[in-house]
């Protein structure tokens, strides 16, 4: 371990120290305000270190590689985690029971997401995934008097455990073929003469790769809730406390995608027709299933769950197209990173607003009727939600449009006409339910019995996110250059 190693790990260390301090503070003095304060300071410290190491490119032990791209992802995640903290405080402050540990778990889950983002080793991949997962089980079940949230937690626990097992088995098979768990060695292992993936490679190697990639695809698809592995998503999103729905839909999924992206690019998995075909099928089914099932939802959390299924279907197009564009598939990084960042900020606005409504009424308010008349009750926040929904629909001036532009560009250059037509059909269907939400915000406020009285930090957070979404949509050049130069 050298100084650079410690510097590279400083964000993770900051979070670990923060978590320990939180443990001690909760042990001796239970005070929700203090806990929130320490959590925010922890995240700010982590952000400070992350900004400090934006240019660092350093392999710290075989487990973690700190590079500008993953640092960018981490910044996004920690920023969102910080905003989740503000939202959670409002959500928890009037609820009975011991609420302090909530923040501890948020810090741990965020730490897991950063480990995942930095992972260059299958072991750290699993480590980050499980650290995040275990904290999330607790978070989902946090309002443990609530049947819905218990059901959601158990569902997530069982299914997530099963998918982790599939993932582990897949990794084990990969190890059996290549003899390594380190991402770069996977590539050379697969390309070695005795494996030499291709039609003339030995029968057993081809079978093991087929089985292994199927298991890994299934495991990762579950975590990203790609159809047909999406069944858990709407139930878990609906049952979770609103701030955690946001965490699940943004940071948790984003971190898994970031890690998958790295595995895909470094391992050059786009050279495997099996995997690319699998991804294509997953993408098509996800776009169609996600959009079609979202049409009739009355619960906004469920709606966002289905919409997130569709969005990760769109994102896969970048991965699929990357292989045909450049020999090493590196072109997948810029579009998907941009899309992901835009998606995360956008979705956090929507879930944050639901959390704000739920906190104002001290119950779970996520029905269409709960946002009725928002335009007249609270125009500013209604505008934020509208921007978020329009961004999800891919209307210009928002981050969502630039993301779509990237996906279109990738698809056209790779000649993926089938996927593009599915994308257009999916977006067309998508507009319907996003507009439905906007429409219900414009209806008569008297039909809604829920109030909305957000505290200042929540309002400021939501507005900040909205400005970010608009900034990414109006002036995308700086981030584009950052991503382009660092890949």
């Amino acid at each position: 371990m050298t100084g650079t190693d410690f510097l590279a790990l400083s964000p993770i260390i900051a979070l670990a120290v923060g978590a320990s301090v939180l443990l001690l503070q909760i042990a001796f003095l239970r005070n929700l305000k203090l806990t929130t304060g320490i959590t925010v300071v922890t995240f700010l410290a982590c952000l400070f270190f992350l900004f400090y190491i934006t240019k660092l490119n350093h392999q710290t032990t075989p487990l973690l590689l700190v590079d500008p791209l993953s640092t960018f992802f981490s910044i996004v995640f920690v920023l969102c985690a910080c905003i989740t903290t503000f939202i959670s405080y409002e959500y928890l402050k009037n609820r009975p029971g011991r609420n302090d540990e909530f923040f501890l778990l948020v810090v741990l889950a965020t730490m897991g997401s950063i480990v995942l983002t930095y992972a260059t080793h299958l072991a750290s991949f699993i480590l980050g995934l499980e650290l995040m997962g275990i904290a999330l089980y607790g978070l989902i079940a946090y309002p443990h008097q609530d049947d819905m949230s218990l059901e959601a937690a158990i569902k997530y626990l069982v299914l997530s455990g099963a998918s982790s097992a599939a993932l582990l088995f897949g990794f084990a098979l990969l190890y059996a073929i290549t003899g390594s768990l380190f991402f770069p060695d996977l590539l050379s292992g697969l390309a070695s003469p005795e494996v030499a993936v291709g039609p003339q490679s030995p029968f057993w190697a081809r079978q093991l790769i087929l089985l292994g990639s199927a298991l890994i695809l299934a495991g990762i698809s579950f975590k990203l809730s790609l159809a047909p592995f999406h069944m858990w998503t709407p139930d878990v999103y609906e049952g979770s406390p609103a701030p955690i729905t946001g965490f699940l839909a943004t940071i948790s999924k984003g971190a898994v995608f970031a890690a998958t992206l790295r595995l895909y690019v470094i391992g050059e998995f786009h050279n495997f027709p099996t995997i690319v075909t699998g991804l294509t099928i997953l993408s098509i089914i996800s776009i169609l299933v996600g959009n079609l099932l979202a049409l009739r939802q009355e619960n906004i959390k469920r709606l966002l769950a289905y919409s997130s299924i569709a969005h990760f279907g769109y994102l896969l197009i970048a991965l699929i197209a990357a292989g045909t564009l450049t020999p090493n598939g590196i072109s997948a990084i810029e579009p998907s990173a941009y899309y992901l960042a835009g998606y995360i900020f956008t979705t956090l606005i929507a879930t944050g607003l639901i959390a704000a409504i739920s906190s104002s009424n001290n119950e779970e308010n996520a029905n269409l009727s709960d946002i009725a008349g928002l335009f007249w009750k609270n125009p500013l926040l209604a505008l934020c939600l509208s921007v978020s929904l329009l961004s999800l629909a891919g209307i210009p001036l928002t981050a969502g449009f630039i993301g779509k532009l990237y996906i279109f560009q990738m698809g056209v250059e790779a000649g993926a006409w089938l996927l593009l037509s599915i994308l257009i059909i999916g977006s067309g269907i998508g507009i319907y339910y996003y507009l439905r939400l906007i429409f219900s915000m414009t209806t008569d406020p008297s039909s809604s019995r829920s109030t909305l009285a957000p505290a200042l930090p929540v309002t400021v957070s939501l507005i900040t996110l909205t400005i970010l979404v608009l900034y990414l949509g109006i002036y995308p050049q700086p981030l584009m250059e950052y991503l382009l130069w660092n890949t």
């Binding site: 001690l24 909760i26 042990a27 005795e194």
Partner: protein, 134 residues
């Protein structure tokens, strides 16, 4: 040629695996085909020398038992890591020592937390919790 070698090295494993499957299937299959079947009123009862069950089998266990079980797992796993370090003590040197100190420090913090939040108080915790919420 190397491929062949690799294939051969893994072949015995498959043979072994297949043999196990075959053996188990044979044992179960023969028993079910040749075995004697008798349906009397004692068929579903435990074996003669066992004790006949009383009451419902679905009793509620005190949640404290699970807590103890979980603690056992946690503290047991911790020793696994420390053992692994102890065996390679001299090879790891000061780096390893520092790592284990940090590890134990975090464990201690967790222990303090558990202690303070009443997880170690046998049978009392549920009452204090009830008092707090009411």
């Amino acid at each position: 040629m190397e491929n062949l070698a690799a294939e051969q090295s893994i072949l015995p494993v498959f043979v072994f695996f297949g043999a196990i499957l075959l053996l188990v299937a044979t044992m179960l299959g023969i028993a079910s085909v040749l075995g004697e079947r008798k349906q009397t009123k004692t068929t579903d009862l435990p074996y003669e020398s066992g004790i006949i069950a009383v009451g419902s089998s679905q009793v509620r266990l005190s949640v404290d038992f699970f807590l103890i079980a979980i603690f056992f797992v946690i503290f047991d796993l911790e020793t696994v890591f420390i053992f692994a370090w102890a065996i390679a003590f001299f090879e790891l040197g000061w780096h390893g020592y520092l790592a284990v100190v940090v590890f134990i420090l975090i464990l201690t913090i967790a222990l303090i937390y558990e202690w303070k939040s009443g997880a170690l108080n046998w049978g009392v915790k549920s009452q204090t919790a009830r008092k707090e919420t009411s």
